[in-house]
Amino acid sequence: MANEIFIIKERCTGCGSCVKVCPVNCISMTDRAKEEGVRWKKLAVIDVNTCVFCNACVEDCDRLFNKTKEKMPNPDFFHAIVMKKEKVEVNIDTTAYKGVWCFAEQRHGQLMPTIFELLHVGKKLSLDLNEDLSAVVIGHDVTQYAQEIIEHGADKVYVIDHPIFEHFVDEVYTNALTDLIKQEKPNKLLMPASIIGRSFSSRVAIAAQTGITADATELSINPKTRMLHATRPSFGGNLMATILCEKHRPEMATVRPMSFQRAEKQSGRKGEVINVKVDLSKWNIRTKFVRYEAEKKEDIDITAAEKVVSGGRGLGKPEGFKLIEELAHTLGAAVGASRPTVDAGWIPYKHQIGLTGRTIRPKLYFACGISGQIQHLAGMSSAEVIVAINKDTECPMFKLATLSVEGDLYELIPLIIKEINKIKHK
């Protein structure tokens, strides 16, 4: 049996309220045929092929029904949407899974700061659940990081240390983490939504036969159900969705970097370090790591940067990025770009911010000569402070910006650099 959803025509007022709550845009309003003799002019139609059966429209229509009921007895309208959900039996004892886990990413032997963000939010979840907070670190020669992770709030650190983990290979990391999950049965598992985290978390979820939410920016525990509520943006933050994993454990989520502050360090904090033995003989590893080519050192990684200075079409010429780089250098910021400048070959793709580029969430974002097309806003609209510099005061970026400056960027930016340098030297 497939899922069913339908409208009781006689009860639909055509108010259009359900259209607004549908997350997948599958409800539309049509004109009713005249001969029906119903007083309402419009009728809701649901495209069942697009519907994800989230229940939002049903709840909305029922809410309107209950509101109307306060004013009149037994209204014969609203309460118009009926949903029949297919049920699949899952027999997993969710109470056997305990503890909040955070995955500590390392790259080339360096611990990534995302673990401290995960520990910050993970601590809150673990206190709400009254369960332990643990971290898992996979790498080669990484035992040295265990104490630092404990000092940032972890009660336990699982260390999976072996030369085979020196470089990130999807299959290898998936095997290591999945084996540990099956053995230790954690309740929740948070991973960074970095390239490594996003690459192998989904493989882990399927290997461990559980559900995962990608790119969460808000996390909380429902005190009644003890379930993880993971909220994530889609369409570049223009729509937020809260995702649950009801019957499978662990509930997994990747967490967007910079969404949470870092946990504070408590020097001398004590915890348990568990060295996990790995049995490689059971694994069927086919991928071979060939080599790593580092990027130029002076480039700041745009997705992890606290400050980003971006240039757009308003620069007028490729040389304009020299000025952008200069401002970025003065601020200690990374360099970003809008799609047209990348497409024109003014700057490499890795700098592109937006729907088809990178998504960032810096503390400070400078948009220089970027008008603010929705595709670009999708990649940066969750920045904390946005500064827009543009000649056109009507551009969308000015409506979004925290601070907007009207004028010629070739005139303004050198002056801004001068002002910042003045403060620096004070």
């Binding site: 997350p23 990608a214 088809t356």
Partner: protein
């Protein structure tokens, strides 16, 4: 070599609009198109076909009847054949159930065409779901190696593929024996526009439409019921309130006032 590209029909990027009054996403009237990231997957498959003799490119999608358009679009760009997983029972799938259904579809394609599948290509993510989970998920179900965020296929022959993975801080080079899965990023190529010949082929193509039963899918692993995760609620975030315009009679004054404000906000 048999390459399968997985695509999705999503709201067209160019049509995503913000309601100027409310500052929220306009949900009405979004036209559908191939997920932009999948176009790079299609192009890369066609390029590999041009490099490796005796290659065939198949394209598969899971979606409502109208998603067939996206398969025809792919054929117009050089793909040889399309396959459509279309069943109400697939609706409401999360990334777990989607990757399960797609890999069952890929198994069926191999059986149907009597050509084992060597390489599976996906876009790095879709523009509506934004997860990037389906490509690696397919590899997990099939128990074959995968690399995501691929920006270059350095070498490919009948038995192995060597790829460049775009990392935050550089490039990883990895080698996998085939069959394998790759998920590609925009930087990998410049997709071609449909050719006239391609458009003719797309028009004429007979596209098999398969149900859950046709691909022998386990009913407990597909659609909403087979999905471990569910959307509990969705909402529009409060729009950003309009900002402050930095005033000043001269550019010098404006620069000074801006830096003063940034200092005040403690972001410098």
């Amino acid at each position: 070599m048999h390459i399968v590209v997985c695509i999705k029909q999503t709201p067209a990027t160019a049509n995503i609009q913000i309601d100027p009054k409310t500052g929220t996403l306009k949900r009405e009237g979004m036209a559908a198109a191939i997920n932009p990231f999948d176009e790079y997957g299609i192009e890369e498959a066609v390029r590999i076909k041009e490099r490796v003799p005796n290659s065939v490119v198949s394209v598969v999608t899971m979606g409502p009847p109208q998603a067939e358009e996206s398969l025809r679009d792919a054929i117009s760009r050089g793909v040889d054949q399309g396959f459509h997983l279309c069943d109400r029972a697939f609706a409401g799938a999360d990334t777990y159930a989607t990757s399960y259904a797609l890999q069952m579809g890929i198994r069926k394609i191999a059986e149907f065409t009597q050509k084992k599948v060597d390489l599976i290509i996906c876009g790095k993510q879709t523009n509506d779901g934004d997860t990037g989970h389906v490509g690696p998920g397919i590899a997990a179900w099939l128990d074959i190696p995968n690399v995501a965020y691929v920006k270059k296929v350095e070498e490919i022959n009948d038995s192995l593929i060597r790829v460049h993975r775009m990392m935050e801080d550089g490039v990883d080079v990895l080698e996998m024996p085939l069959p394998a899965v790759i998920a590609v990023v925009k930087e990998i190529n410049e997709p071609r526009v449909p050719s006239l010949r391609g458009k003719m082929a797309a028009k004429k193509a007979v596209i098999p439409r398969w149900t859950a039963e046709d691909i022998k899918a386990d009913k407990n692993k597909i659609g909403l019921g087979g999905s471990p995760t569910i959307v509990a609620s969705s909402f529009n975030p409060p729009p950003r309130t309009g900002g402050v315009k930095v005033e000043g009679a001269t550019p010098e004054e404006k620069a000074k006032n801006l830096v003063a404000k940034l200092l005040e906000m403690k972001v410098l």
